[in-house]
């Protein structure tokens, strides 16, 4: 087929294009992802037994996770459509990463030298690094699905942004289970759990987002 014929074919009988309703779909996706992650925590891990007394630290950790997600969200939205510059959106993520590092160091400095290691590692292996990506998976799958309806052109970056956003959602749910409340622990390992989600997202996204 000649290119002119193809153009004829594409243009023939063209209808007004529908406006993509991405805002509502994005909100729905994140809500469903969060609910599924919370259910996974409640069923698979079990909510921490002292949830009544530990309301404050749980809230703080969930807020931190939500903040991570909120910082990444503009980047994800910007990457949905081709040809839009990323600008401050990528700068915000980088700045947030730097603030996390500073916050972790400051919090550690505030601890007694002999209890620093304990405060940082949370007394055992920081499982959240592994569990946050697991809890992020449902949200990530839904976001990939949503993204495929649009036209991402920078697949690895888009996958990473989706992974990080899902990681933030997964971490919100994880806060209900997580028994460690030290600030240095949360800022370090939650952020690393989200970073690992982003790395997985970059690899998976480069394959699954092709169109």
């Amino acid at each position: 087929m000649k290119t002119d014929h193809l153009i004829d074919m594409l243009a023939r009988g063209v209808e007004p294009a529908e406006r993509p309703r991405w805002k509502r779909r994005m909100v729905m996706t994140l809500l469903v992802g969060l609910v599924v992650a919370v259910l996974l925590v409640a069923i698979g891990l079990g909510v921490r037994p002292d949830i009544g007394a530990a309301r404050m630290p749980i809230m703080m950790k969930a807020m931190f996770s939500a903040l991570c997600a909120a910082v990444i969200l503009p980047l994800v939205v910007q990457l949905m459509r081709p040809g839009r510059p990323l600008g401050w959106r990528i700068g915000a993520v980088a700045l947030f990463g730097v603030v996390c590092v500073i916050a972790a160091v400051v919090a550690l400095m505030g601890e007694m030298p002999e209890s620093r290691w304990e405060a940082w590692m949370g007394g055992s292996f920081p499982w959240c690094v592994v569990l946050i990506p697991v809890l992020a998976a449902p949200t990530a799958a839904l976001l990939l699905w949503l993204m495929r309806a649009f036209a991402p052109t920078r697949l690895a970056l888009t996958g990473a942004a989706i992974g990080a956003l899902s990681g933030g959602v997964g971490a919100m749910a994880y806060a209900m289970y997580c028994p460690t409340d030290s600030m240095a622990f949360v800022v370090t390992w939650y952020a690393l759990g989200i970073a690992l989600s982003a790395a997985i997202g970059a690899v998976v996204g480069a394959k699954l987002l092709r169109w």
């Binding site: 594409l10 007004p16 839009r84 510059p85």
Partner: protein, 180 residues
């Protein structure tokens, strides 16, 4: 060649359902895309034309992904660049058969540059029945959506969805095609 403002005006009219404007946009876009791909695939005019067609289908089926608060050409070239990268990645995965000892025949002096290597018609045959019929009736036989619905017994929105899905599937098939 049209500039950003003209191209954008045509495109937005096309988005609103103006067939002639959409067609004019695609024609202008084809010219720009041809230059873009030929520049980057020197001496491979047929591959470039394949890519022009692929990118045109992409621009058409994803036209709702354009954000009017940014330049149209940025959107268009972002898609073109993406198709090119995808093409080069595919080409890398393919084994290159040596041409030594193969009779390539005479060079055709009347080769038409806007003739791509792959044939979209044969790709259309690979689509599922419903999508193929909808595209054939409306896009090739110039029937209205209403007439196509009457002929097939499907609803009008069913026909529209079938065409849209069919064209998206067509672009995927264009990508899978073994060329080069």
């Amino acid at each position: 060649m049209a500039d950003e403002a003209q191209l954008r005006a045509l495109f937005l009219q096309g988005l609103a359902g103006d067939q002639a404007a959409h067609r004019a946009f695609l024609t202008e876009a084809a010219g720009l895309l041809r230059a873009f791909f030929r520049n980057r695939l020197r001496g491979r005019a047929e591959d470039a034309e394949d890519l022009v067609q692929e990118a045109l289908v992409a621009l058409h089926t994803r036209r709702d992904s354009y954000d009017p608060s940014y330049p149209l050409t940025a959107w268009m070239y972002a898609i073109a660049r993406y198709r090119l990268i995808d093409f080069l990645r595919r080409a890398k995965h393919r084994a290159h058969a040596p041409l030594d000892g193969v009779d390539v025949g005479e060079v055709d002096p009347h080769y038409d540059a806007s003739d791509a290597k792959r044939d979209v018609n044969t790709l259309l045959d690979k689509l599922p029945e419903k999508q193929r019929t909808a595209i054939r009736l409306v896009k090739l036989e110039e029937k209205s959506v209403r007439e196509a619905a009457d002929l097939t017994g499907l609803s009008e929105s069913d026909i529209k969805i079938s065409i849209h899905r069919g064209l998206k599937a067509l672009m995927r098939l264009m990508g899978q095609e073994q060329t080069t």
